[in-house]
Subunit: 231 residues, 2 copies
DNA sequence: ACCTGAACACCGTTCAAGT
DNA sequence: ACCTGAACACCGTTCAAGT
């Protein structure tokens, strides 16, 4: 699948004559680059999930040979690391959230983090097993500052940060994978029907059927922050 | 763990003569069975991780052809589901933990859950993406009862359960994957050295170098339970 | 009822080479 | 400096068959 190169020829004949590009053919494909590879990897991951990203498919989308990728990245792991961090950027709280309101700041950052991961469901499952990139480190740095400002003791700071990390990761991972087909939901629902006698309490509270994920996330986060706040 | 049956033959010669097995050859291998497949899958996963489990290797260990497995299980996913639940059994709290102490009960179950998953590090990453098996449902049922008994309002019950689930899953997943080689630790340590100026706060608190995972888990769980307890 | 080998359509990466 | 195809050693699963 080396190139569309000559494929553009005669598609629409009204294109103005392009100034001759030194190396690059007049085709649509810009040259390969780390950035292009990462952006395309994210597209592919969004479309096909973790298992859907293969070096061959990635090269196909980029209109290059498979092995050309290896000039720009070390290996597939590298692609995962780069794609992951690229998705976790944080632009900071909106101005509305006054900077004296540590709780508002923290909630905003964590909800934004979760939302971004849910928009790229593969990212949540990758994050805990990869090295931490700059974007996620920035988020932790911000968290640390806010909690300090909130009066969390230095001795409790790391525990507090990890607790919030754990909560966000657990919630997002679970939500991301339960967001499957309706068929799956129906199957689960049916499996639970005749389980009532073995698990009466969770059956009664409809634990596995409640689907207000956003509300539950926010409310539980509230409880956790209550527990973390200096009494 | 179906049987050692004929496997004992000739190990120590003082075994009494075994009655002749009808079909099975005198070889060491008991016949294939779902249980044997699952037990061997767990061994393989423990030894080689998620990517180490392949149908071919599994068949090898079992001394059978690859395709023989497919008589007993539907596919590889099925093997994962069975292996996963087999590892999550809970035998209940020890008698020491008086049953009036809801907090002690909850902490015991959650620490046992985490410990089991850490003993089989592949299990944590599988749990959120697979259907919930009977053993994990029992744990949730128990959790639900304890929290009810503790006075958590019915309207908060599901949120409380999911919060604890999230915390345990996040903590265990993170711990399981950061438990890598010493080389990795050294590399991370070095990467952080010259990051101090970009992330001063997490650098100062040594967030990424602290390795009292067990202590942090327990302490953070304490904070969360504080937040969940009716005030 | 239980087990099998051959075959198919895939993988990631090494290597030696091309421009 | 950048890109390439062929080759290697793997995958999970379908199929048609054997006992």
């Amino acid at each position: 699948m080396a190139a569309k190169r000559s494929g553009a020829r005669g598609k629409r004949s009204q294109r103005v004559s392009v100034p001759p590009q030194p190396v690059q053919e007049a085709s649509g494909e810009p040259p390969l680059s780390r950035d292009r590879i990462v952006a395309t990897a994210v597209e592919l991951l969004d479309a096909q999930g973790v298992d859907g990203l293969t070096m061959r498919r990635l090269a196909d989308r980029l209109g290059s040979g498979v092995m050309s990728l290896y000039w720009h990245v070390d290996n597939k792991e590298d692609v995962f690391d780069l794609a992951l961090d690229s998705v976790l950027e944080y632009r900071g709280p909106p101005d509305m959230v006054v900077s004296r309101d540590w709780r508002g700041e923290v909630v905003h950052m964590l909800e934004d983090w979760r939302a971004r991961m849910l928009r790229h469901p593969w990212s949540a499952s990758l994050l805990p097993r990869r090295a931490l990139g700059p974007n996620i480190l920035s988020r932790l740095e911000m968290l640390s500052k806010s909690l300090s400002r909130a009066g969390v003791a230095d001795a409790d700071l790391n525990v507090a940060i990890w607790s919030l990390w754990n909560y966000v990761m657990g919630a997002t991972l679970t939500r991301a994978s339960f967001d499957l087909s309706d068929d799956d939901r129906a199957a689960a629902r049916q499996r639970l029907e005749h389980l009532s006698e073995r698990y009466p309490t969770i059956e009664r509270s409809r634990l596995l059927l409640d689907d207000d994920w956003d509300g539950a996330f926010r409310k539980g986060l509230g409880f956790l922050l209550d527990g973390l706040s200096p009494r």
